[in-house]
């Protein structure tokens, strides 16, 4: 039983479940799935001073903060309590490529050799964690949403600007992963 619960889920189980959060939130109270707006909420709640973009009644959308707190708890349940003890199964070609950059084997969800506290204070780690995170926050807000808000929610409601955003997410990702990231990993 425990072993069965520790196993990762195939795409055809996980995908439809993610899709079902769209009607779930709508039926609960007309809420649109979207995670990145919670980052704006955090800014508005903590440091709204004199920035018009953060001067709004964030308490009206406070459900988003409850939602992301839930994601954190869900991460604990699935990632700690029901942790998959086996290494993640990825394409051997990727493993070979990453070995060439000294990244190591995929024993964990993240490569521990790249994402750790010591690395934060190196150039490579700074780019991977700090610059990367900054781009995620800046880019999603400029785009008006992230993978959940545009690619799942927006596309589910057949909004073509969300398709434009999704195509740009993918284009940026393909360029970074194949052209720029190899240079960063060689640092």
């Amino acid at each position: 039983m425990i072993q069965w619960m520790q196993r990762p889920w195939p795409w055809y189980v996980a995908g439809p479940l993610i899709g079902l959060t769209v009607p779930l939130l709508l039926v609960m109270g007309n809420k649109n799935l979207g995670v990145s707006s919670s980052l704006r909420q955090l800014c508005a709640a903590c440091l709204p001073a004199k920035v018009p973009f953060f001067q709004y009644d964030w308490k009206k959308e406070v459900w988003q903060l409850f939602f992301v707190a839930g994601i954190l708890a869900g991460g604990f349940i699935a990632g700690v309590l029901l942790q998959n003890p086996r290494p993640i199964q990825v394409n051997p070609r990727l493993i070979e490529e990453m070995k060439g950059y000294g990244v190591g084997e995929p024993f964990d969800v993240l490569p521990n050799s790249l994402f750790n506290w010591k690395m934060v204070f190196t150039l490579k780690g700074f780019i991977m964690m700090v610059v990367g995170g900054f781009l995620v926050g800046f880019g999603t807000r400029w785009a008006g949403g992230c993978t959940s808000g545009h690619s799942i929610m927006g596309l589910s409601n057949l909004q073509w600007p969300s398709l434009v955003a999704t195509i740009c997410f993918m284009a940026g990702g393909f360029f970074m992963a194949n052209v720029v990231l190899p240079v960063i990993l060689k640092i």
Binding site: W9, W11, A14, G15, L17, I18, G19, L24, L26, M28, G29, V35, S36, R40, V51, P52, F54, V62, F66, F67, A69, G70, I71, L72, A73, G74, G75, F76, G79, I88, N91, L94, M98, V109, L110, P111, L114, F115, M128, M129, V130, L135, V136, F138, G139, T140, A143, T147, S151, I152, G154, S156, L158, V164, C168, G172, G173, F174, M176, V180
Partner: protein, 134 residues
């Protein structure tokens, strides 16, 4: 509000169990080395489209009895420029905003740095907003 917390718990469990939170899975996706991520996102979108179609067709209401109005998204240039920048960040960190929270919960405490940096990115966007094309 507890219902939104519980929906988040569910969402977080799915993100981890589907390995969508994995840097390795994101790298595979951007190298076309696996169908997994395309399967997850594709089947999520199909389920979402069907769900909203059913909601509209049968005029389903919220638990509070209100008519359901899913958001519409007007076009603005940020979807292109911001979209590309987010794509860069997604490929570097291997995480979009949802997985950032899920990873911290899963015990990868260093991802707090990435999350705080994402909050900083959002803040700087707020400061520069008037000067950026939209």
């Amino acid at each position: 509000m507890i219902k939104y917390f519980l929906s988040g718990v569910l969402f977080g469990v799915i993100l981890v169990k589907s390995e969508v939170v994995s840097w390795w899975r994101i790298q595979e996706m951007f190298r076309l080395e696996s169908f997994h991520m395309y399967g997850v996102i594709g089947s999520a979108v199909v389920t979402g489209i069907l769900s909203i179609w059913i909601i509209k067709k049968f005029r389903i209401r919220t638990w509070g009895g209100e008519p359901i109005v899913p958001k519409t998204v007007p076009f603005q240039k940020g979807q292109i420029f911001g979209g590309l920048l987010f794509g860069f960040g997604w490929a570097i960190t291997g995480a979009c905003p949802g997985p950032l929270f899920a990873l911290i919960g899963a015990g990868f405490d260093v991802i707090v740095v990435t999350l705080l940096s994402a909050v900083a990115g959002t803040y700087v966007y707020g400061l520069l907003r008037e000067k950026l094309p939209h």
